[in-house]
Amino acid sequence: MVEVVYFAWVRERIGLPRERVETGAATVADLVAELAAREPRYAAAFADLGALRVALDQELAEFDAPLAGVREVAFFPPMTGG
């Protein structure tokens, strides 16, 4: 079970800020594939991984990173601070 968190247009496209997801996904990419297969709104949010960033337990990570032991996965567009 992981907490999946969405920000900015990813949150808007999926329609949720966060959800608990039961998954056996080994990597972030596997989790993305599971989510994208759920419904069109998820497929739309994950259509272009190049336009997305991921953080595992609040640290930036890559899409091939393993999910073992991770409690919180966040998906969001490239950041625009400053």
Partner: protein, 147 residues
């Protein structure tokens, strides 16, 4: 080192006055204040979303790196979230060092990293409502390479 992620406005003058006060080893203070700018004539406000928890951690990590690389005497980052009208201050950084080159460079490093590595996202609001999310610029990502 002071890091604040806040919705409330800040007083840049008061922050600068208090920053690095009372230390004999500081020869230079560099400050930068970012404002909400209207490029199109149709912007009323920016709405800044952030990732509570990660935002503070990410900024602290960037600030700690700046302090270590330039041996800064002190470092300050204030970044706001929520709805900000055109002309309002979004954020400020300040760096204090023995010499000005270190203070200038560290301030630029902080700004480059805050733009692309601090989890904030900006949505534009015009007179008719939301007009979309501000896209990250390739130039901002490229700016990190110089460090």
């Amino acid at each position: 080192m002071k890091i604040s992620v806040q919705e409330a406005p800040f007083d840049a003058g008061a922050e600068i006055a208090a920053f690095g006060a009372g230390r004999a080893d500081i020869g230079a203070v560099v400050t930068f204040t970012g404002l909400v700018r209207d490029d199109t004539g149709a912007l009323e406000a920016l709405e800044l979303e952030h990732y509570p928890g990660m935002t503070e951690r990410a900024i602290a990590k960037i600030a700690e790196e700046a302090v270590a690389r330039w041996a800064l005497a002190d470092c300050l980052v204030i970044h706001r979230h929520g709805r900000l009208a055109v002309g309002e201050a979004i954020m400020m950084v300040a760096t204090a060092a023995r010499h000005r080159v270190a203070a200038f460079e560290a301030a630029e490093f902080l700004m480059d990293y805050l733009k692309s590595r601090a989890p904030f996202w900006k949505k534009e609001h015009g007179p008719g409502g939301e007009t979309g999310w501000v896209a990250a610029k390739d130039a901002d990502e490229a700016a990190l390479k110089r460090w």
